[in-house]
């Protein structure tokens, strides 16, 4: 999993061909941002499902730290983070589909990376209010996914989570192919 996060980081760094996603100025537009940015939603649902499956809340501060670091990175205009976000979502989906157990340390690294990528995938001129909204929106998705995942994990074999994981993998693969087709994959 660490390798996967490293791969996602590598996929993120050279991408500079397209601009980051605009967030807007207000708190409300910030809240809406992770819901409307499909890749963010996919990653956050997967992250919430993973944390909920393992009933682990300890990585959540890592998510906040990652978001703050990502916002700092966004000022430097690192370019779009979509490939990195999708690679990470793909890995999380795979872990869910295969029902692999992940250590608490690795979960924190994953949460940190997710926050970093999502934070960096904003435009650098985002206001404090809008960024607070992004954090709120991110937590709305993650916490709700965690709650649903705890229900799914309680089913025999965690079947709902395995199926959800396979769907996340499938969507991420298709989107990575779209990026490749559109020439948006980093060279």
């Amino acid at each position: 999993m660490i390798r996967l996060v490293a791969l996602a980081l590598c996929a993120a760094s050279p991408a500079a061909a397209h601009g980051s996603l605009p967030v807007g100025d207000g708190f409300a537009s910030g809240v809406a941002h992770p819901f409307l940015a499909g890749e963010h939603l996919l990653l956050l649902v997967g992250l919430g499902a993973l944390l909920g499956r393992q009933d682990s809340r300890r990585p959540l501060p890592g998510l906040v730290a990652g978001l703050i670091c990502g916002l700092g990175l966004a000022v430097l205009q690192p370019g779009p983070m979509r490939p990195a976000i999708l690679v990470l979502a793909l890995g999380i989906g795979g872990v869910l589909a295969a029902a692999l157990r992940v250590g608490a340390g690795v979960l924190t690294v994953i949460a940190l990376a997710a926050g970093l990528f999502i934070g960096a995938d904003t435009d650098g001129s985002t206001t404090i209010a809008a960024f607070a909204g992004v954090v709120a929106g991110v937590f709305m998705i993650v916490l709700n996914s965690m709650a649903l995942a705890r229900y799914g994990a309680a089913r025999p074999g965690g079947v709902p989570l395995r199926i959800a994981g396979s769907w996340i993998v499938a969507v991420a693969i298709l989107l990575l192919a779209f990026l490749l087709r559109e020439g948006m994959w980093p060279a």
């Binding site: 499909g38 939603l41 499938a170």
Partner: protein, 200 residues
Amino acid sequence: MTCQADRIVALLLVTLWMTSPALAHSGGLTGGLTGGLQSGLLHPVTGLDHVVAMVAVGLWGGILGGAAIWKLPVIFPMVMAMAGALGALGIPVPGIETGIALSGMVLGGMVLFTVRPPMTVAVVLVGAFAIFHGHAHGTELPEAANPIAYAAGFVLATGALHLAGIAFGMLTKWPSGMIAVRAVGAAIAVTGGAYLTGLA
């Protein structure tokens, strides 16, 4: 378990139904999202050859029981997406239409004759057929669709068809239900055969 599967299918159908009023909008971000979602949701259900094969995967999982109930619907979308990526990138795979028709005929036959091979054989067979379906979807995907919404809709609709098949396959617990499931398997095999021979 049947009750639970029924609830899941009902929830998915309600979700699908709830998306329909939003499809009236057009233009802008919302229009792009709903338009892409609409395209994605409709794509797997617009071809009968696709639909019957997806349902057959679920039905066969229900007949095999145990881990097959989740293994087949978990393997299928992942392999399908990989093949869809090949299709989207223009990488050819031979015999796509034949493979799709054959999948309906073979999977329908498995249901009709309640064939219970080892799990590995079932997974490999379903995975192989997923390549043909995924490649066809990937090749045919519209350029203008919102990619995330299209991909999400496409995967959700495929998953909903699998779940519908699994839910129906749960009827095999009862003798009359087994007859009904095998009859559906026969209909699927005939449909696949019709596509294979060019009658449909």
